[in-house]
């Protein structure tokens, strides 16, 4: 297989406009005759469904939850970036582009990232028109804040619920098209398989989660916006049902998977409290704008936090990175927290936490100002931990949060399966080896509102389609295969629960393939995952039947895929013999323990092709060419 990113020629700033113009169009009359399946109703999926329906296509939209409004995009707190330069602080499309490329440690495509920066402004316009209540200044104009290590204020926000508000905007657009009959909504459906006809993606197999019925659906193109795979780690900030199943099935059908080892560990999460913990809660990284991160200078200091005097506190981020201080990018902040805890300087019951202290901010600005900025976050923290952050420092620790890797897509957002488009977190395209704060919302909506609706037209206009229906033999076969997989899961009747396996997989990955990796640990992880997978298929217990609402069965299917996919993360991490962004291999670091890239050998996208069960996947390389930015060692000193 030859990867062709189809990046248009010409100067960077003109690529997208020119491409736009060159693209074939589908006539309005023909759009009515074309069916598109959209999987997922998060920011990417909902915005794509709505926009495609507005254009005139017939859409079938699928989601796992009981309502499209509940997709996990809803949990994004901080904000959405755009290069509006409303703050007049020197922002521009070019700067947003450059920050994103640099933040991603030069492992993303210039053309894609520039396009994203260009359309970022349209996203804000559209969201405001939809009624998203962004924060505003006293004059009634939009407010901005600086976020996640950016030196300009370009982040638009709705309190701590920006993702929710943006998603409700997209959901409104989706609902409007459902009412118009242009979208048919299928909630509580799980994707079990893709159906390829003549090597083109033409349909899906889904399970109706309420009745257990296996259904097949046909279309002329398929859009996958099913989110990221970070729940492979079990404990993560993702929702409980976030999964890799749809993406992994696409991978098995021939879609290459790119950079799976780029997994973001978010620095400001509430620490793990015990073995029954089911998920981790993110505290918006906006907290780092005013909070100061510290640990006790002496390892093993067991005094209560308020009793540790100023002189015995190590503000390690401020000391190590004077220019950025507490605002260094996520990967840097996370890794430093781990380093401090590894030295025994961690705080809290488990010693796996660092302090995020608002004492100085409260002294400087007063309690009321801090409450206005972070009140809801402080409240959330107190609800979960029972501690009051106005009185004693918050305790935070990194947690798995976001997947930069994803299905490989070209400039059109099409995977290596013709007709299968991948958008939002499910694709790999824009964040390189590390995503900057407030960029995920931008990418999800950018893909859905302003990129995919054009590029999918180009595909549909230029491709001749044979007629397929959901009753064709290819569909029946796929349905049968899915059914037999369900039956085999139900018939194992072993002694360990699904969650038990998932937790073990998560801890293997967290320990061996988390914030700090090395070859030895990675090799061990690969073996452990293989053994665990083998045991799973012999010893898992899944109660109930497949013909009913069966949440254990749902989870079993997802964990079976996590067990396969977890190994792919490790394989990719092993193959990338450098450190970059979120991927930190101890063998490749500078003298100051910073990630050391190897641009000579690894300035590429690693795309993996499925070679068959229990076979090493085939490696494909998409070299990354940087014509407009100079590759530099990231420095936040």
């Amino acid at each position: 297989m030859q990867l062709d990113a189809k990046i248009p020629g010409g100067p960077l700033t003109e690529k997208w406009d020119k491409y736009h113009f060159d693209m074939k169009l589908v006539s309005p009359a023909n759009k009515k005759k074309l069916d598109i399946i959209v999987i997922g109703t998060g920011l990417a999926g909902a915005s794509a469904s709505a926009t495609l329906a507005e254009l005139g296509y017939n859409i079938k939209s699928f989601c796992l939850q009981d309502s499209p409004r509940r997709a996990h995009s809803i949990a994004a707190q901080g904000g959405i970036n755009a290069a509006k330069n409303y703050s007049n602080d020197g922002d521009s499309i070019w700067r947003l582009f450059y920050d994103t490329i640099k933040g991603g440690d030069f492992r993303s495509r210039e053309a894609n990232v520039y396009r994203l920066a260009q359309i970022s402004n349209n996203i804000i316009d559209h969201c405001v028109a939809q009624g998203v209540p962004f924060a505003r200044d006293y004059g009634g104009l939009l407010a901005n804040r600086s976020f996640g290590g950016a030196q300009v204020s370009r982040t638009f926000y709705s309190r701590g619920q920006t993702g929710q508000q943006l998603l409700l905007g997209a959901y409104g657009g989706l609902m409007r098209q459902v009412a118009d009959g242009k979208i048919k909504m299928f909630p509580r459906r799980e994707i079990l398989d893709f159906v390829l006809v003549n090597n083109k993606a033409r349909g899906i197999v889904v399970r109706n989660l309420i009745t257990g019925k296996i259904e097949t659906h046909a279309a002329d193109a398929i859009v996958l916006g099913a989110g990221g795979y970070i729940n492979t780690f079990f404990l993560s900030t993702n929702a409980m049902t976030s999964n890799v199943t749809a993406a992994f099935r696409a991978y098995e059908k021939g879609a290459c998977f790119a950079n799976p080892c780029f997994t973001q560990i978010h620095p400001t999460c509430i620490p793990v409290h015990g073995t029954h913990q089911s998920k981790l809660t993110l505290m918006s990284e906006s907290l780092r704008n005013d909070g100061r991160v510290w640990v006790p200078k002496t390892p093993g200091d067991k005094r209560s936090l308020n009793q540790i005097p100023e002189s015995e506190r190590d503000y390690y981020l401020e000391n190590r990175y004077p220019a950025f201080g507490n605002l260094v990018p996520r990967d840097v902040a996370s890794r430093n927290a781990k380093m401090q805890c590894d030295m025994g300087k961690g705080v809290g019951k488990t010693g796996l936490a660092v302090c995020l202290d608002f004492d100085d901010a409260i002294k400087r600005d007063g309690k009321d100002v801090i409450r206005k900025k972070y009140g809801n976050l402080f409240q959330m923290y107190e609800k979960i931990t029972g501690d009051n952050p106005y009185e004693s420092p918050m305790m935070i620790y990194p947690a798995a949060h976001y997947a930069m890797g994803g299905l490989w897509v070209d400039y059109n957002l099409m995977s290596t399966i013709p007709g299968l488009f991948v958008i939002g977190e499910a694709n790999f395209s824009d964040h390189g080896a590390n995503r900057l704060g407030a960029s995920a919302l931008m990418q999800g909506l950018g893909d859905g509102y302003f990129i995919l609706p054009y590029t999918i037209g180009g595909y549909l206009a230029g491709t001749s389609m044979q007629k397929v229906t959901a009753d064709d033999p290819e569909f029946k076969d796929a349905a049968k295969k899915s059914e037999s997989r369900i039956n085999s899961l139900l018939s194992i009747n072993g002694k360990r629960t699904v969650d038990d396996f998932h937790k073990e997989l998560g801890s293997i990955l967290w320990e061996h393939c988390g914030m700090s990796r090395n070859n030895e640990k990675l090799l061990r992880a690969q073996n452990l995952i293989r053994e665990l997978r083998e045991e799973f298929w012999k010893n898992v217990i899944v109660p109930g039947s497949g013909k009913e609402f069966n949440q254990s069965l749902e989870r079993a299917g997802r964990v079976a895929d996590f067990l396969e996919f977890g190994e792919l993360i490790v394989i990719d991490a092993l193959a990338r013999k450098e450190s970059c962004g979120s991927h930190f291999n101890e063998a490749y670091q500078t003298e100051e323990n910073e990630a050391k890239r190897n641009d000579k050998d690894f300035c590429h996208v690693a795309a993996w092709e499925f070679a068959g069960e229990n076979k090493e996947p085939v490696f494909h390389k998409e070299p990354l060419a940087f014509e407009n930015v100079e590759l530099s060692q990231r420095s936040y000193k």
Partner: protein, 255 residues
């Protein structure tokens, strides 16, 4: 309430509503939850019960949940007769066991309303809420049509009031806690959010009419101003939004 510093484990008796499917009869069944850490969330406590039931070869308790950080609106059940449990402004997933005492008996029932059918155990079908939004709970704008985001200034106070209403997570606790199973707070929140903003005004009259008609058709009850919804809403959305809905309705119906 147990003090937050006291981290001892507790034993509880649970009475959980079990119902195989929408058409089956259900009943409360008793389970013992022993050695529950007070740091656990309520849903993590049910996870523990479910793990045990699974290993015993029994059917685990079905319940809806997803984000577990109080924003997706997927979880929810009546805990001792209170929607999302006894804590104010809290979803069930954010309710922690430190609010219960050793030896407590907890009755767990699904949301009950004629409009919400039970799917299984504690999981209910809340799609009627989506249907109300489908009727007109949006601003009609196509991608590409929007003017510059700063073209229309919106007073900060208006934006904040709209945001207060927009925080609704669509969990259905208002319906569940209302003695009349009315959805007026849900509808009021959406109407308020959109009617307050200049972008939502062109469609305001039509929107309130169609949404109220849809709400009535779906057989939700009528609002009697009991204010239980406001007291139970995990996002603490105020009934001033219901008053605004009433105003919008009067405006659209008579003027």
């Amino acid at each position: 309430m147990i003090s937050t510093t006291d981290k001892k484990n507790i034993n509880l008796t649970l009475k959980i509503w079990r119902q195989k499917g929408p058409d089956n009869k259900g009943n409360l069944e008793t389970y013992h939850a022993n050695d529950i850490s007070t740091d656990m969330s309520f849903l993590e406590m049910i996870d523990v019960i479910n793990e045990r039931l699974t290993l015993e070869g029994k059917d685990p308790v079905a319940f809806d949940h997803d984000c577990r950080e109080g924003i997706c609106g997927m979880c929810g059940a009546m805990i001792n007769g209170r929607a999302h449990g006894p804590e104010k402004g809290t979803t069930l997933c954010q309710l922690h066991m430190r609010h219960f005492a050793d030896g407590d008996t907890i009755v767990i029932e699904p949301w009950r309303s004629r409009a919400f059918k039970i799917i299984k155990d504690l999981a209910v079908d809340r799609s009627p809420l989506d249907k109300i939004i489908q009727a007109g709970g949006y601003i009609s704008v196509n991608a590409g049509q929007a003017p510059d985001a700063n073209a229309i200034p919106i007073p900060q106070e208006t934006a904040e009031t709209a945001m207060d209403a927009a925080e609704c997570i669509g969990c259905g606790a208002c319906v569940a806690s209302c003695p009349n199973a009315s959805a007026m707070l849900f509808v009021g929140a959406r109407i308020s959010h959109l009617a307050l903003l200049p972008q939502g005004k062109p469609e305001a009259a039509k929107r309130v009419q169609v949404m109220i008609n849809e709400m009535d058709e779906l057989l939700f009850g009528n609002c009697s101003n009991h204010r239980e919804c406001e007291a139970e809403c995990p996002k603490e959305i105020s009934i001033t939004n219901i008053a605004r809905l009433n105003r919008e309705f009067i405006k659209s119906g008579f003027f």
